[in-house]
Amino acid sequence: MFVYPDAPIEPGCVLLFVPVELVPLVGGAFKAMEQRRKWATQEDFEQGYRAFVELERQLMSTCLQELIQEIRDLRGVSPAYASTPVEERESYMYRSVADLIEHVNTLIFALSGGLEHGDNVLEILRGDTEASSSRNMLDMLE
């Protein structure tokens, strides 16, 4: 019987790359952990059951999707597609990193007359970012 382990102070995870053809076998291997008798207590079972069913779910919706969304959030949506629902957006509907860098360089030139700029430029950019309702590449300057 298993005791559900305590989570570390700083939560972490392990990213596995499971070949799609192995999804049925890997998922099936988790089945035993859905059983009450595998766990020492009801509390252990409830935590373990949820955790392993979540792993089974992730096999069909890998965390790569979430990572992709994080990257898209970082890039920020192009204004032309701001009204497009998130689930309907394609990659091209988000700003490119190259465009963002060019935009930042333009700002730096405009504010300081060149790439040799003072600290106040970053403060100005940071202020501009905080006024925005969406996260984008400018957040990286903080």
Binding site: V23, P24, K31, Y49, R50, R57
Partner: protein, 162 residues
Amino acid sequence: MSLIAITQVLRLRWRDNDGAETFSLLNIGASVDYVSALSWLADFYGLSVPMSTALVIGADLLVRYAENTNITSVEASDTRRQGVFIFGESPDGLAVVRLPSILESVLMTSGPYAGIEIDQSLPAVAAFVAALTNGIGGVIPCDPMAIDLGDLATAYMQRVAG
């Protein structure tokens, strides 16, 4: 093919100090009412515990039905090939319902999970999912923690150990 009521079973699950487990079973008639059957289960527990050094870690009332004819499953059936329907929301509300020997024909034929993912657009699948999500006759199935299953999160085929 038809299922008929057979004896109900009172089942006590025992565990010894080595962690080994076993059951003790007691049959009662199929027609015994629910309240009386549960009362007998409590009595079975109370009468058994004083005579054993093992612990009772579970007690079940099994209302049973069994196939009444000699049938043979079709050759292509395989209980280790299971349809897995995962309901609820991540990460703390997921629950699983399994359907053994899921038809190969309900699996997607294209896409990244071809041959693995269950096609939720098929009428039989959609009806199954809707019943578990919305309930039948005012009764909504729940997970082991007594929480309604909720919406389907994903459905696919697994191969489990024999």
